[in-house]
């Protein structure tokens, strides 16, 4: 489904709010002031729309989630019941821009907000090798011996790039079926909610989280165990809701050129998992200005002659270009390759190099490791050390040098995260659900990088790196 929806053009990043929506049953829930939830999602069709008014009275923003074919009746109810907005789940034509389907409704109903939901998300979690299902069947899971992280970063990064002039994109996921929880334990538990919230914050993408009806009922019934769980979730909701809403762009040293997601998704997923700071761009959006932001490029699609020349010039200026499953003819083929291996051919281009991989990415894990190795530590915009369960994303506002770094720890125990960010900064400040903003972190500058350690990262945190302005002294 995801792949079907991601067939559109992938271009410039759109601003994102990283709000956490909760999909609930149309039944009672304690007031917003108590749950710390701001936005509720109700699935269309609704049997009794009066629940909308009740939720609104309790302080919630209410959204309706519907297929595009149901937009007309849903909008009518939304107008009547003062719903905050609509979330469009399925597009009639996956290849069609959602703008065309939704924009006519949006133009006629300016009081309503509209969002497009991309399906195919996964419950964020650290996984081992076993999959335990409710019926007791165990199966082989990932063949990776490093902790496998189910993450929505690749989906989020691609989805936010997909419809440049469209409505905000959001994702959702289903909670994985549990094994046999011990008596009295909730599934999902507080850490599961916290991780989903922190991940959405790091991806800078809206997410819909399912609130199981059993928990909804228990919270309404003032069940002490349910509230014991939820009180642990509230700080993460508060933390997420206080994130700055700005038109940020990912800090990326690596560009990914892609026009079709199916054959590149898993490779990009593993690139995200290995903390390769990247952004995805459709070939049509490739410009010299855009290339100037990166020092490496991975190409998953065919390019026209103009784009090929652009990439050759990029390499000539010291860049690294990697073509995946490349069988096109390129100008540099007239020169002798620097190296010819069983899977790849490497050409020298000025100060840089061009690597052509003659096959698709068969082993995404190995490819991502190779990529990090080829790019090298000096070219990486950010790096983590000994933090195999942590994902990092970095953003800056357009034209600004200050960076906000988002960290998400998928393991269930705190970890000290050693971080290296390219650039010089005057201060490094940490905020987290456990720490009121902000705690200054000691840092050192080394070879053009700023290095620091985030102590005891539990689930999520933001680190603000303030840029060293001319004439300022570093710490």
């Amino acid at each position: 489904m995801l792949c079907a929806l991601l067939l559109g053009s992938i271009a410039a990043c759109t601003p994102a709010t990283a709000k956490v929506f909760f999909r609930v049953a149309p039944s009672p829930l304690p007031p917003a002031a108590k749950t710390a939830i701001q936005d509720l999602v109700l699935a269309w069709p609704l049997r009794d729309s009066s629940i909308i008014a009740k939720f609104r009275e309790q302080g919630y923003n209410v959204w309706l989630q519907c297929d595009s074919k149901d937009l007309a009746p849903a909008v009518t109810v939304a107008d009547r019941m003062a719903v905050r907005g609509l979330i469009v789940t399925k597009l009639a034509d996956a290849k069609q821009s959602p703008s065309k389907e939704v924009s006519s409704f949006a133009a006629a109903h300016k009081n309503l907000a509209f969002r497009v939901l991309v399906s195919g998300g996964k419950q964020p979690q650290m996984k081992g090798r076993l999959v335990v299902e409710r019926d007791g069947i165990l199966q082989v899971s990932s063949p990776s011996t490093q902790p496998w992280l189910d993450s929505n970063l690749a989906i989020g990064r691609l989805a936010h790039s997909i419809y440049p002039d469209s409505f905000p994109i959001m994702y959702d996921f289903r909670w994985a079926a549990p094994g046999e929880p011990p008596r009295g334990a909730w599934h999902p538990d507080a850490e599961d909610y916290a991780l989903a919230i922190a991940e959405s914050d790091a991806i800078r993408s809206d997410v819909i989280v399912e609130l199981p009806s059993s928990l909804q009922k228990a919270l309404t019934a003032e069940d002490p165990q349910a509230w014991w769980l939820w009180r642990k979730v509230v700080p993460y909701l508060d933390f997420s809701s206080h994130a700055p809403v700005t038109n940020v762009q990912p800090v990326a040293s690596l560009g990914v050129i892609v026009d079709e997601v199916q054959r590149s998704y898993e490779a990009i997923n593993l690139m995200a998992r290995h903390n390769l700071a990247f952004e995805a761009v459709h070939p049509a959006g490739l410009t010299p200005d855009r290339l100037a932001n990166w020092n490496s490029v991975v190409v998953f699609c065919s390019l026209n002659a103009e784009a090929a020349v652009m990439l050759r010039n990029f390499a000539a200026n010291g860049g690294i270009v990697i073509f995946v499953n490349s069988h096109d003819k390129f100008p540099w083929h007239s020169t002798s390759p620097l190296r010819r291996e069983s899977h790849s051919t490497t050409y020298t281009a000025g100060a840089g190099q061009i690597v052509e991989l003659g096959e698709p990415v068969v082993d995404p894990e190995n490819f991502a490791r190779d990529l990090r190795r080829l790019i090298g530590p000096d070219r990486s915009a950010l790096a983590l050390w000994n933090s195999l369960t942590t994902l990092a994303t970095a953003y800056r506002e357009e034209g600004q040098h200050d960076i906000s770094l988002y960290l998400v720890n998928y393991a269930d125990q705190p970890d000290n995260i050693q971080v290296q960010v390219k650039g010089h900064f005057t201060s490094v400040r940490l905020e987290s659900p456990e720490e009121t903003c902000c705690v200054s972190l000691p840092f050192v500058e080394r070879n053009g990088f700023t290095e620091f350690t985030v102590p005891s990262l539990r689930v999520g945190a933001r680190v603000h790196l303030d840029y060293l302005k001319a004439g300022s002294a570093a710490q």
Partner: protein, 360 residues
């Protein structure tokens, strides 16, 4: 040698066995817990009538692994191993019972492998690790300097609890045995808590099966096969299996080094084999898997013949395999026959196959 063994795989295939279980006996409930330990994910499955007891026991076992990580980690500067590595050059230092024991076991495997297994390989591993991360390949001089620091004979254990290095640059790395040692301690802990049926997976590269799943005669574990042709399996009961394999070669660069280093030459091992070893102890299977990968099938098989209750299988990327030992048998489902079936396990596998055929 380090905690992680990329692509060193031995994976669990329990669907068939569990289906069998459901046919032949009423299944007990089970719990499944996982924890990030030693750079990988440790997982435990416990079958027990009392799930609260099982849950507590699994948590305690994972806590034990975490505690041992704090003892044996070479990534954590404040681990007992790291502190020992900084000070044992100067004078004998006191170490914990666990650290003493795992080093003692390591030295045993160093001696029987004529130094192919060597926990003093740390400086060499660190040297090549930088290259693995994208740094330049180490120079010949750097390799020689690191090689100078290596040699298990320079480690002196003084019973009952002291150690001294007879080299000023020695640094121990327990990556090739530590996970197995931790699994053995977890098994002890589970048994002490009355757990009888459990499966412990240390990131896939070392697995221990306690007893059997309810109604089944063994835990069936699928093993790493670089060729994808043989589909090897082993049936475990109160035994362990470990798998080692060199890092996958780079598809973008031809000269990327692997993570397993030959102590003799100081260079990364070049091999197309994956090797799986089964024996009664997880520390033994863990240490032997690396040892036998380094030795290769010819010398490795000769070593296995000298050991009690050990079996090993080497499989290369073309599907060529060598099997050795008198322990549990490897079943090659891809060839529809066993590579070597010991009398003790022949009946078990035949029963399993017959039951599987019946279900189909």
């Amino acid at each position: 040698m380090r905690w992680l063994k990329p692509a060193a795989l031995a994976s669990l295939s329990l669907a068939a066995l569990l289906a069998w279980t459901l046919c032949s006996a009423q299944s007990s409930a089970f719990i499944h817990q996982k924890r990030y330990v030693m750079g990988t994910v440790f997982e435990i499955v416990i079958y027990d009538e009392d799930l609260s007891q099982a849950d507590d026991a699994a948590r305690a076992a994972l806590d034990e692994a975490l505690r041992l990580d704090a003892v044996m980690s070479n990534y954590k500067p404040e681990s007992e191993l790291s502190r020992m590595n900084r000070s044992a050059h100067f004078q004998p230092v006191h170490i914990s019972h666990e650290l003493y024991e795992v080093i003692e076991q390591s030295l045993f495997y160093s001696r029987i492998s004529d130094g192919q297994f060597d926990i003093s390989v740390g400086p060499l591993v660190d040297l090549w690790k930088a290259a693995l991360a994208g740094g330049p390949l180490p120079s010949v001089a750097e390799q020689a300097a690191a090689l100078h620091c290596v040699g298990y004979q320079k480690i002196e254990l003084m019973s009952p609890d002291r150690i001294q290095f007879h080299s000023d640059c020695m640094r121990l790395d327990l990556g090739a045995i530590g996970k197995g040692y931790a699994v053995d301690r977890m098994v002890e802990l589970l048994r002490a808590r009355g757990i009888h049926r459990a499966y412990i997976d240390a990131g896939g590269s070392t697995i221990y099966a306690m007893n059997t799943p309810p109604g089944a005669k063994a835990w069936s574990v699928r093993l790493r096969d670089p060729s994808g042709k043989l589909d090897p399996e082993i049936m475990l009961m109160n035994s362990s299996v470990s798998t080692s394999e060199q890092s996958a070669p780079s598809v973008l660069q031809g000269d990327a080094p692997g993570h397993i280093v030959l102590p003799g030459t100081g260079k990364p091992l070049q091999t197309r084999y994956a090797v799986s070893v089964t024996t009664a102890s997880a520390a033994a299977s863990d240490a032997l898997s690396t040892t036998l990968l380094l030795l290769g099938p010819t010398r490795g098989a000769a070593l296995v013949k000298t050991l009690h209750d050990v079996s090993a299988i080497w499989i290369d990327s073309d599907g060529q395999r060598t099997v050795a030992g008198e322990g549990a048998a490897f079943h090659l489902a891809g060839e529809s026959r066993s590579a070597r079936i010991s009398p003790a396990t022949r009946m078990m596998i035949e029963t399993f196959e017959a039951d599987r055929d019946l279900r189909q």
